[in-house]
């Protein structure tokens, strides 16, 4: 069994079996991270380039660490230090990187669809590390992995996704992944932040967090993406926190063993209160640890396509 495409652009493109393959491969790589020597020679000689046009600590570090744990050579290029500041187009930059024989290019970009553009134009494998408001597949996969690890399964779980669904690429990847693996999904947020086209996702929609968390197995909180929002989505941060922030009293309404997840970086006191973020139900740091294992699995599985 192998992945059918040379790139990882979106969870909406993947079959259920492909997602399951990535998750089971990630479990074996997680074992490597618990060893004394946290490095295996699997991808030695491969070149992996992180091409980031937006700020990131977790995703970029996580991919870099994953590449290094697999003994690949990893290079980081950020927008500020690249020749795009001299007016070079994205495609030209990417073609030059490919000419230096990069096997895998990991792209983060503020415009939706840019990874797909590179994937069509280049032979290198392209991994989408977040494109605009489209998808963030590696985050979606590590969320699935964390839930499966803690709960044993994904099928039949009640998952609530709270916050700025409209601008969140994490929410989109989570929704596609969770639905394919058989979970029930409810999205919650202010009406201005729920997109108008939710029918195609086959999810439940709610504007009331107190009602939506009742009986939830997993609560995924999203960061308020103030850099992507215009004005007027909600009156004040205080009101948003009061209506859509997760705190200890709201958490009591969910199942006792409910998991609290957040893709980071967290805004304490806005979408999540500090006692919940640091509490026993929170698996936010497990997500970060699992992120490395899941990204190792993605790099490993895509490397089979690198020579085509």
């Amino acid at each position: 069994m192998r992945l059918s495409q040379k790139d990882l652009l979106a969870l909406s493109d993947l079959q259920k079996e492909e997602i399951a393959l990535i998750l089971s491969t990630a479990a074996t790589f997680k074992e490597v991270l618990d060893r004394d020597i946290k490095k295996v020679p699997t991808l030695r000689g491969k070149t992996i380039v992180n091409l980031f046009f937006e700020p990131s600590t977790r995703t970029r570090t996580s991919f870099e660490l994953a590449a290094k744990r697999l003994s690949a050579d990893c290079i980081n290029i950020t927008a500020a230090t690249s020749s795009t500041t001299k007016g070079e187009s994205l495609l030209d930059t990417a073609r030059n990187i490919e000419a230096m024989q990069a096997d895998i290019i990991i792209l983060r970009h503020p415009s939706s669809g840019t990874p797909a553009l590179l994937a069509r134009s280049l032979k290198s494998a392209i991994i989408n590390a977040g494109d605009g408001t489209h998808e963030h597949p590696s985050q979606g996969l590590l969320d699935l992995f964390t839930i499966q690890e803690k709960k044993g399964t994904l099928a039949g779980l009640k998952v609530v996704i709270v916050g700025d669904i409209l601008h969140s690429r994490v929410a989109r990847s989570d929704i596609y992944g969770l639905k394919k693996m058989g979970a029930e999904v409810t999205i919650v947020g202010p009406p201005t932040m729920i997109p108008p086209y939710t029918d195609q996702w086959k999810v439940a929609t709610s504007y009331n967090l107190d009602q939506a968390v009742v009986g939830a197995d997993v609560i995924i909180l999203l960061r308020l993406q103030r850099e992507r929002q215009g004005k007027g989505f909600f009156p004040t941060l205080r009101e948003y926190a009061r209506l859509y922030g997760l705190n200890a009293s709201r958490l009591k309404k969910a199942n006792n063993d409910a998991l609290i997840m957040h893709p980071g970086p967290i805004n304490r006191g806005v979408e999540i209160s500090s006692d919940v973020a640091d509490g026993l139900s929170s698996v936010i740091l497990d997500q970060v640890k699992n992120g490395v294992a899941v990204r190792m699995a993605i790099l490993y599985l895509l490397s089979g396509h690198a020579n085509e």
Binding site: T25, R35, P41, S303, H305
Partner: protein
């Protein structure tokens, strides 16, 4: 010009023969290491794990000692990842906490090019620093590509390169058995 013949299977070892080999190899391991005190067994996924389990049981019968037993998936250490678009499915590795200072017997079902054993030695050394690594195999079919030799051999089986050696274990295939399969195309 080549002549096509139908693929056929030839039985090489039956279950009782394999059982006798396990008894002999277990005794040989104990003899060479002067008892069961300083040894550990590590089976190479997947066939080697079944053979290692059998030897482990037998040593327990003979010496009343349960020696450390591990399982090793060598995929991380293969030298052909990405060649021919190969990405094998990875399985679990579990190595007992510390094998440093022990003689570790790697166990595999078939010894062929030696590349699996090379990968297994690299993998093992990432976990610990064994005093010695030994190798036990059920079948040695020749055609080595690396300077590797087994310490304990169940059966030496001269084969042609285009033949396949198939080892079945009762855990997955009803009965312990070994076959040689001709792939249908006769050697030129």
């Amino acid at each position: 010009m080549s002549f096509l013949i139908t693929p056929h299977k030839k039985a090489i070892l039956t279950a009782p023969e394999i059982a006798r080999i396990v008894v002999r190899i277990s005794h040989e391991i104990l003899e060479k290491n002067k008892g069961s005190k300083n040894i550990a067994l590590v089976g190479i996924r997947t066939g080697g794990v079944f053979l290692a389990n059998r030897i482990h049981e037998k040593i327990q019968e003979i010496d009343a000692v349960s020696v450390p037993l591990g399982e090793l998936d060598i995929t991380f250490y293969r030298d052909d990842i990405g060649l021919n678009n190969k990405v094998p499915v990875i399985q679990k590795t579990s190595i007992p906490s510390d094998l440093t200072g022990l003689a570790v017997v790697l166990v595999d079902d078939v010894l062929f090019t030696g590349r699996t054993v090379r990968a297994a030695m690299d993998g093992l050394i990432d976990f610990c620093r064994p005093k010695q690594i030994q190798l036990a195999v059920l079948i040695d079919r020749g055609h080595r590509e690396l300077p590797i030799r087994a310490d304990f051999v169940g059966k030496n089986l001269p084969t042609a390169r285009n033949e396949q050696v198939e080892v079945l274990w009762k855990e997955t295939d009803f009965e312990d058995q070994v076959f040689v399969i001709h792939d249908g195309e006769e050697a030129r």
